[in-house]
C-alpha cells in the first residue's frame, strides 16, 4: 500500500524522507540553512513570487519544452512508442536552469548579493552564471579540475557571463570535490553568501526545494501526454546523478501507480568499485555532504572514487528522496555503461536529429533495451535532461577514434580509399556500424 500521497509527504516534509535527508552540517551553517528553509517556505506560498517565477520560466527560459514523439526510433526498436521530453531546449541547455531561476529569485528575496555553486558537467554552473547575470548577483562556481578540462565549453560560457570559475585541485577533481569546496567557501562566508546547490541532494531544504522548482517538468509531461497521446506514459526514464532531473520528471506522477518510473545510473566501465557511479545499485546508507542517503563507500565509511564518462553523473551520492522512493519500491533503478551511453548519443542523433547530453543518454540507453519488450499501445517517455553540445570534446574524441579504428581495419582488408572525401564518408559509415555493436 502506498502512503496517502508521496507528493504531499515530500513537499510537507521538514527535511526527512523516511530515514533519509536531514541537515548534517557544521553548526556555523545552521543559521544560513534555517534562513533559506524559512525563506523558501514563505516564497512558495507567495503569489507574487510564484508569478515572477512563472514569468521567468516562460519568457527568459522558454518554457514549456516540447514532448517530442520519436517515430523513427519507435519503428526501429519495434515495441513501445517512444517520446522524449526535451529539457535540452531550456535556456543554457539543460533542466538545471529551472531550479537556478527559482533559487536565484529566492536569494534575491533574502537579500543575498553573492552566489556560490558547484558544478560537474558545467550545466548547473552555466545556468547559475546566467541567472546571476540576469538578476545582478555576484557568482563564483567551483568545478573539479578534471571536469574543468573535460567540459571546457561550459567554463568559457560561465566566464563570458561574468562568473568566476574556480578549478578545484583537491581529491579526484570531480563534482564531489567541487561540492566540498563550495561548502568550505560557505563556512568562511556564511552570512552574505547564498549557496545555490545544483541537485536534489545536500542538507534540508535543498532536496525538497530543487524538487519543487523542477516539478514543472513532470507537470508538463502529464498535460502533454494526455493532449498528444490521450493517456499517461506507461514508463518514464531519467538518468540519475544527484537526481534533480529525475525528481523533476517523476514528482508529478509519483501518485499514479500505473506509471512505471525508472532511474538510470552511471554504470561506467563496469561493476568494480571505482569504475561506476551507481549509488542505489552499488552504494550503501551513509551521511555525507549534509544528508543521509546512499553513497558509494569503502573501507569503513570512507567515500569511494566514482567514474562516469558523463561529468554530471560522476558523483558519490544521490538524492535522499530517491533513496526513500527506492526503499519504498516506487522507483526502480537500472544502470547504463559509458559505452552504451555513447552509442545512445549517436543513435538518437542519427535517427531523430537530437543530440542528447551524455548524462541523458544513459536514460535513452536503457529505454532502447526496454522498448522492444513493450507493446505499441504503451508509451515510454525519456527525459532528455540536457543537450549534447557541451560534450563536444568527449564525443568527438570517442567517435573519431572509433572511425580511425574502422579505417585501419578497412586499410588492412586491402580496400585502399581513393581520396580524403571518400575516406571520411567511409569512416562515418563504419562508425555507425560500430555504434550498433556498442549498443549490445
Amino acid at each position: 500500500m502506498q502512503p496517502t500521497s508521496y507528493r504531499h509527504t515530500i513537499l510537507q516534509s521538514s527535511g526527512y524522507f523516511g530515514p533519509y535527508g536531514g541537515t548534517y552540517v557544521p553548526e556555523v551553517l545552521l543559521p544560513a540553512l534555517e534562513n533559506i528553509a524559512k525563506g523558501f517556505d514563505e516564497a512558495r506560498q507567495d503569489p507574487a513570487f510564484l508569478a515572477e517565477l512563472d514569468h521567468e520560466l516562460r519568457h527568459f527560459n522558454g518554457r514549456e519544452t516540447p514532448l517530442t514523439p520519436l517515430p523513427r526510433l519507435t519503428t526501429q526498436l519495434g515495441g513501445a512508442q517512444i517520446a522524449l521530453k526535451n529539457e535540452g531546449l531550456n535556456h543554457t541547455g539543460a533542466h538545471k536552469i529551472n531550479h537556478c531561476i527559482g533559487q536565484a529569485l529566492l536569494a534575491r528575496r533574502l537579500g543575498k548579493k553573492r552566489i556560490i555553486a558547484e558544478t560537474g558537467a558545467g550545466q548547473h554552473g552555466y545556468a547559475t552564471a546566467a541567472v546571476c547575470a540576469r538578476y545582478g548577483l555576484d557568482c563564483t562556481v567551483y568545478m573539479g579540475r578534471k571536469d574543468y578540462e573535460r567540459q571546457r565549453p561550459n567554463v568559457y560560457w560561465m566566464e563570458l557571463l561574468g562568473a568566476t570559475v574556480v578549478p578545484v585541485e583537491d581529491g579526484a577533481q570531480t563534482l564531489n570535490d567541487a561540492v566540498i569546496a563550495a561548502f568550505k567557501d560557505w563556512v568562511t562566508h556564511p552570512e552574505e553568501t547564498y549557496y545555490l546547490l545544483g541537485s536534489a541532494v545536500g542538507p534540508h531544504p535543498y532536496p525538497q526545494m530543487n524538487t519543487f522548482f523542477q516539478k514543472i517538468v513532470g507537470e508538463e509531461i502529464r498535460r502533454q501526454s494526455l493532449d498528444q497521446y490521450g493517456k499517461l506514459p506507461h514508463t518514464m526514464l531519467a538518468c540519475v546523478g544527484g537526481g534533480s532531473n529525475a525528481m523533476g520528471m517523476f514528482f508529478d506522477l509519483l501518485d499514479e501507480p500505473n506509471v512505471q518510473l525508472i532511474g538510470v545510473e552511471a554504470g561506467g566501465k563496469g561493476a568494480k568499485p571505482g569504475e561506476h557511479a551507481s549509488k542505489l545499485l552499488g552504494g550503501k546508507a551513509g551521511i555525507f555532504e549534509g544528508y543521509h542517503s546512499y553513497f558509494l563507500q569503502e573501507n569503513g565509511g570512507n567515500i569511494a572514487a566514482t567514474h562516469s564518462v558523463s561529468a554530471g553523473l560522476d558523483y558519490c551520492g544521490v538524492s535522499p528522496i530517491l533513496a526513500w522512493l527506492a526503499d519504498e519500491k516506487r522507483i526502480q533503478f537500472a544502470a547504463a555503461t559509458d559505452a552504451e551511453a555513447l552509442a545512445a548519443v549517436q543513435t538518437l542523433a542519427r535517427t531523430e536529429g537530437i543530440i542528447p547530453a551524455l548524462e541523458s543518454a544513459h536514460a535513452f540507453a536503457h529505454a532502447f533495451k526496454l522498448a522492444p519488450n513493450l507493446s505499441p499501445d504503451q508509451l515510454i517517455v525519456v527525459n532528455a535532461s540536457g543537450r549534447g553540445e557541451k560534450d563536444l570534446f568527449i564525443t568527438m574524441r570517442h567517435f573519431q577514434e572509433e572511425s580511425l579504428t574502422a579505417y585501419a581495419k578497412h586499410l588492412l582488408s586491402g580496400q585502399q580509399a581513393a581520396g580524403s572525401g571518400q575516406r571520411s564518408q567511409q569512416s562515418a559509415v563504419d562508425s555507425r556500424q560500430s555504434a550498433v555493436v556498442y549498443g549490445h
Binding site: Y24, V25, P26, V28, L30, V187, H189, P190, I287
Partner: protein, 276 residues
C-alpha cells in the same frame, strides 16, 4: 574522577592554568595514522611530554569537509596510503590510554565513519577507554543521530549526567543567543569556538563577538577553547587570554612535516612558562 574534562574555568581562573610548568593550556590535535600509526603515537607522546592539557585525536576520513589543506592531506594519506580505519584508530587510542591513564583525551571524527561503525557502539567503545568528549563537525549536536551517542540532559533533571559521552559543539560567532541557551540547557559543557569564519589552518583572527559568547559560557560554568588558524605561541596566548584554552592542529602538522615538531613544542611550552 579522572578524565572528566571541563573542570569549568572562569576568565579569572584562566591565568592559573599557565602556572604549572608541566601543563600548557593547549588542546593539541593529530590525525591518527598520519604519517603512520606508529608515528602518530610518537606525536601523541611528544604532545603529552610538552605538557599539552588535552589531546585531540582525529579519525582520518577520505573527505574532511571542514578542514584545510594540511589536515585534508594528512587524512588522505592515512586513509589511502595506510588504509587506516576506525578499528585501527581505536586500537591506537587504547594504547595511548594504556600509557597515559590520566591524560585528557577527546576524539574527533566526521560523521560517516562513526555512522557506518555504529554510533551506539562508538559511544560504548569511547567510554570504555575513559573518553567522555567527542567532536563531530558535521553532526548538529541536537539532531536525532546525535542522540544515539548519548541522551541530552532532560530539562526536568537538574543533575547533569557526567557518565555519558558528550559532543563538543563547534560554534562560530554567528551562533544566536537563543541557540546558545538551548545548548547550555541541554547539558553541553565544553565548546569549541571557531576563531573566525574559516577552515582549519587559515590565518588567525579573533571575531569581535567571541568575547560575549565566552562570557556567557563561563558564566554557565562551561569550558571552551578557541581553534582554527592558531599557528604561533603569541596567537595561542591571545586565545588563552580570551577563554583559557587554545586548540592547535595544522601548525603542529606542518612542524612535524618539516621535522621540527620537538623544537616547535619546546618553543610553545617556553612561551607559556616564561609568560607566567
Amino acid at each position: 574522577m579522572k578524565n572528566t574534562l571541563p573542570q569549568p574555568k572562569s576568565i579569572a581562573d584562566a591565568p592559573d592554568c599557565l602556572l604549572p610548568a608541566a601543563c600548557c593550556p593547549l588542546m593539541c590535535h593529530l590525525v591518527l595514522g598520519y604519517p603512520s600509526l606508529a608515528e602518530s603515537l610518537r606525536t601523541a607522546e611528544a604532545y603529552i611530554a610538552a605538557g599539552c592539557e588535552i589531546l585531540e585525536l582525529q579519525i582520518p576520513f577520505s573527505h574532511p569537509t571542514a578542514d584545510g589543506p594540511l589536515i585534508t592531506e594528512a587524512c588522505r594519506h592515512a586513509v589511502e596510503k595506510n588504509g587506516v580505519d576506525i578499528e585501527a584508530c581505536l586500537d591506537l587510542v587504547a594504547e595511548i590510554r594504556r600509557r597515559h591513564p590520566q591524560q585528557n583525551i577527546v576524539l574527533m571524527s566526521y560523521l560517516n565513519p562513526l555512522f557506518v561503525f555504529g554510533l551506539e557502539k562508538t559511544a560504548e567503545k569511547l567510554l570504555a577507554l575513559d573518553i567522555h568528549y567527542l567532536i563531530v563537525p558535521d553532526l548538529p549536536v541536537d539532531s536525532p543521530q546525535a542522540a544515539l551517542l548519548g541522551p541530552l540532559q532532560d530539562d526536568n533533571d537538574p543533575i547533569r549526567d557526567d557518565k555519558g559521552l558528550k559532543l563538543i559543539p563547534v560554534l562560530g560567532a554567528n551562533i544566536s543567543d537563543q541557540r546558545l541557551e538551548k545548548l547550555l540547557a541541554s547539558g553541553f559543557d565544553f565548546f569549541y569556538l571557531m576563531s573566525d569564519f574559516k577552515i582549519t589552518g587559515a590565518t588567525f583572527s579573533l571575531h569581535p563577538r567571541l568575547n560575549a559568547i565566552i562570557s556567557r559560557l563561563h558564566a554557565a560554568g562551561a569550558r571552551c577553547g578557541i581553534g582554527f588558524g592558531i599557528s604561533t605561541p603569541q596567537q595561542a596566548k591571545l586565545a588563552v587570554e580570551a577563554c583559557g584554552l587554545a586548540i592547535v592542529g595544522s601548525a603542529f602538522i606542518q612542524a612535524r612535516n618539516e621535522n621540527r615538531l620537538q623544537k616547535c613544542l619546546s618553543e610553545w611550552q617556553n612561551a607559556f612558562i616564561v609568560e607566567s
